[in-house]
């Protein structure tokens, strides 16, 4: 491991290639660069998760830790480790102080693995608008975690309005077990489904997504009700009205966060494993595929009554906010999730989020149209 104090991006690039040579990691099967945006308090847990994920998908992980953006002098520290405890890939922890914290991309860009896809993952509170974060704009895939937000359903709401193909939220892979089980239950269930109720811990974003996934597919109304948790605790599917039965068609109950009981009318109950998963597993699932997840987009759209998320442009235009000029008391607004910001930013209300998202989308659509027109021009030219 190489540690660099008060360093520059250039020194890090050199140290990385020296470290690669000395550890013999010359022909690594690197498949991507993972940029992890993480708060100082959570560096350890983020490294653990990234390590688990890199076991399956060898990658270069750049941990971006933003610290004290109000500090007067910018400063950069770095830790480089290859192989060993960091998993088979390469891990670089980048700590940025002062205004540099607001320009992390300047350090990250030269460190991206050449021509490999980039995935940006916000370990903590996700930014309401990814277009404001250059680390998100430069990525091919973006992974947020609305459950880590102060107000998870509001964060998921922002994700929906801000959506572009290639975004996902960890609330979605947290559902994979539930979705697999429900899909298996419906393999042999030709009876029409009636109203569905999802019981979950208060403000659980996965429950909202599950409702968005089930509703249109089963053509049923789905209600989300609070329960004591942990996470989602029950999905109950009533028989279709008029089927002459009060008994639910089926239900899946999980109260201990580990095992579920599947009950179906006319059949014995089954107990099945349905464990809550570690963050590393969730991340590994996200890194499996780097294209857009259309099924997620549809569930997200349905959950917030939006349409055509899948038709949005892939691209985001970076919306520059000159934060360097920003008054200190507003910095928190620009950097959600950084713990040592003294002044926390004002809360953004949903209608403002929607409004800003609409403007950004319009701008991106315009860019897309311009690009398409340009292509048309050249092909039409003699």
């Amino acid at each position: 491991m190489t540690t660099l104090w008060d360093t520059t991006g250039k020194e890090i690039v050199e140290a990385l290639s020296a470290e690669r040579r000395s550890t013999g990691a010359v022909a690594f099967g690197l498949v991507l660069t993972l940029v992890a945006v993480v708060d100082e308090r959570n560096v350890r847990s983020a490294i653990d998760a990234a390590t688990t994920a890199s076991m399956a998908h060898p990658c270069r992980t750049l941990m971006v830790v933003r610290r004290q953006p109000e500090a007067d002098t910018p400063r950069l520290d770095a830790e480089i480790s290859i192989g060993g405890t960091g998993g088979p890939g390469e891990t670089i922890v980048l700590r940025m102080w002062g205004r540099l914290a607001l320009h992390a991309e300047s350090v990250v860009l030269p460190l991206l693995a050449p021509d490999a896809p980039v995935v940006t993952w916000w370990h903590g509170e996700p930014p309401p608008h990814i277009s404001h974060d250059p680390l998100g704009v430069l990525a091919d895939r973006r992974v947020t975690d609305s459950a880590a937000a102060a107000d998870p359903p509001a964060a998921l709401h922002a994700r929906a309005h801000d959506y572009r193909p290639g975004d996902t939220d960890l609330a979605w892979p947290r559902l994979t077990g539930w979705r697999s089980l429900l899909a298996a239950a419906f393999d042999a269930c030709p009876d029409a489904a009636g109203p569905v109720t999802v019981y979950a811990e208060r403000k659980n974003p996965s429950a909202v997504l599950l409702a968005g996934w089930l509703g249109p597919r089963l053509r049923s109304d789905v209600a989300v009700e609070d329960s004591a948790g942990p996470g989602i605790t029950e999905v109950r599917v009533a028989a279709a009205p008029g089927a002459g039965s009060e008994v639910p068609l089926l239900s899946v109950v999980r109260t201990d966060g580990r095992t579920a009981v599947l009950s179906r009318s006319g059949q014995p109950d089954r107990t099945l494993p349905l464990p809550r998963r570690e963050r590393g597993d969730l991340l590994a699932e996200e890194l499996r595929r780097l294209d857009a997840d259309q099924v997620y987009a549809e569930a997200l759209a349905a959950a917030f009554s939006l349409t055509e998320l899948n038709d949005r442009p892939q691209h985001r235009r970076h919306v520059w906010r000159d934060i360097a000029e920003a008054p200190s008391e507003r910095i928190g607004e620009f950097l959600p999730g950084v713990s040592d910001v003294r002044a926390t930013g004002g809360h953004t209300d949903p209608s403002t989020v929607e409004e800003t998202a609409r403007e950004m989308l319009a701008a991106d659509r315009a860019d897309q149209a311009k690009a398409a027109a340009a292509v048309g021009d050249t092909t039409a030219a003699p």
Binding site: L181, A184, F186
Partner: protein, 509 residues
């Protein structure tokens, strides 16, 4: 049962996160006290359960001649799973699996026991909702096959009727020559329909073997040079460091060629040499494999190009190893080979003139399986001869096990002011090969059986085509003495001489 025309609204081809999970079913294992069942099958079933890949309704049935109840079998299964599982141990997962475990005691010629088995399956249909779906795993000595199959026919176990599916899993050896494999195939196919028979070649369940297909057919880089214009020769090696252990009863009389060459090595050859299948499904793959297996030719001079050997006492990895003839239960005058090497040709336009060297042996220096494709030298080297003295032939090696991955060897300039070129090897490790928890071949294959996906299973035509290659070789060897080689060396001298004769040498894996 799902009504005809019903499509599950929750399944979506675009949804790549939801894994394929089999229909509710039972897995019946015959010979559950055996080595294979304890070391591979039971741990694999636990791992599948742990990964959530078993269906909501599932039952595991053991059949063996022990005076046991369900609990005794459950105990054996638990110990085996704890010892052999890849995934972490979870009591909860085990308890649920244990609740679906049944044991039926009996010998294979015991009619009553099979009636009980049939009865147990019917009961499970209600209690575990398995819908009459069942897979039978014959983890038993090959001579017992006919007895067990006839019992299944008699009791109607093999007959799915309209209740669901019935499948059978057969382990190697698939006979000991063409005639016996045909008999076996006929017998199995008369009890089950051909599509319901799954023959296990666990090499095909390995990640790298499947990756070989991805490498060849998903890239533009390799396929254009994958032919006689560019390839000099191919070497396929499966080396084991172990001896025969306690398997003398099966091994003696069979030998390395029947045990490994006929199935694993020829399957690897087929995947290396076959043409591109029109799609990646079981039938298309089988068509291409059968074609290439049918095009294999033996050398006209078997004296020079087929070698067999038998290990004698020696030292291996710092320990003393006894010779084959001293192993327990091996007759002192046994002529069974523990090493076999042969040069084959593939008579197609793509491969005409390219030798395929295959070798396998026990008590070799290390356990390794690999496919090495050696390319021709560049037709002209614009460098002075002295500069390229150390430059060998380019090579591409698919490492099947251990250290799954790919190695490429090519010439590169030696750093410095002089223009010198020498070979460098670039190792490529990728993916879940790193992780302890990546699925074992048996896990993948059992899952595929339960899903009814035959892509990774050799069909009987392939088995017969392979015997057609091996039979003349075995006939040639009858009555001959295998050459001796010391345990811990890379096989008999004759095998090295075979390659030297062609101006080549075995690659040291």
């Amino acid at each position: 049962m799902a009504a005809a025309g019903y499509t599950n609204p929750l399944r979506d081809a675009r949804d790549r996160r939801i894994p394929r999970v089999p229909d509710p079913c039972a897995l019946v294992v015959f010979g559950v006290t055996g080595d294979l069942a304890r070391k591979k099958l039971l741990p694999a079933v636990y791992d599948l359960a742990n990964r959530g890949l078993l269906p909501p309704g599932f039952a595991l049935l053991g059949f063996s001649r022990r005076d046991w109840g369900d609990a005794d079998f459950s105990q054996l299964a638990m110990e085996s799973a704890q010892k052999g599982a890849r995934t972490p141990w979870r009591d909860g997962v085990w308890e649920r699996l244990a609740a679906s475990i049944r044991f039926v005691p009996g010998a294979f010629d015991d009619d009553e026991a099979f009636d009980t088995l049939q009865q147990t399956l019917i009961e499970l249909e209600d209690s575990h909702g398995i819908h009459g779906n069942a897979a039978f795993y014959l983890s038993i000595p090959p001579p017992a096959f006919p007895t067990v199959l006839k019992q299944m026919q008699r009791t109607g176990l093999a007959d799915s009727g309209d209740r669901g599916w019935r499948r059978v899993v057969v382990e190697k050896p698939f006979g000991h020559d063409l005639a016996s494999s045909r008999d076996l195939n006929q017998l199995v196919d008369s009890v089950f329909t051909a599509d319901d028979v799954f023959r296990i070649d666990h090499y095909l369940g390995k990640e790298t073997v499947q990756n070989l297909l991805a490498m060849r057919f998903a890239n533009t880089l390799f396929e254009p040079i994958w032919n006689a214009n560019f390839v000099d020769s191919v070497q396929i090696t499966m080396a084991e460091d172990v001896g025969i252990g306690s398997r003398a009863g099966f091994y003696d009389g069979a030998g390395a060629a029947r045990d490994v060459l006929q199935n694993h090595l020829l399957q690897l050859l087929a995947l290396t040499a076959m043409e591109e299948p029109v799609s990646f499904d079981a039938d298309s793959l089988r068509i291409e494999k059968v074609k290439v297996l049918g095009a294999i030719s033996l050398p006209s001079d078997l004296h020079a190009y087929a070698v067999r050997g038998q290990y004698e006492a020696g030292w291996l990895a710092g320990e003393r190893a006894i010779g084959y003839l001293e192993e327990s239960d091996v007759p002192a005058d046994s002529t069974t080979e523990t090493y076999a090497a042969v040069r084959l040709g593939v008579e197609t336009r793509r491969w005409g003139g390219v030798p395929f060297y295959l070798r396998t042996g026990k008590r070799l220096p290390r356990r390794v399986t690999e496919i090495a494709v050696t390319f021709k030298r560049a037709p002209h080297l614009p460098f002075p001869v002295t500069d390229t003295q150390e430059l060998g032939r380019n090579q591409l090696v698919v490492r099947v096990q251990p250290d799954e991955g790919v190695t490429m060897r090519f010439g590169s300039k030696v750093p410095g002011t002089a223009m010198e070129v020498r070979d460098v090897s670039m190792d490529f490790l990728y993916g879940e090969a790193f992780t302890e928890s990546s699925p074992e071949a048996y896990e993948r294959l059992i899952l595929d059986v339960l899903l009814g996906d035959a892509t990774l299973f050799p069909r009987n035509l392939e088995v017969e085509a392979s015997w057609r290659v091996l039979d003349p070789l075995e006939a040639f060897w009858v009555g001959s003495q295998p050459e001796r080689y010391r345990a811990g060396t890379w096989g008999p001298a004759g095998s090295d001489a075979m390659l030297r004769r062609d101006g080549r040498a075995w690659r040291r894996p």
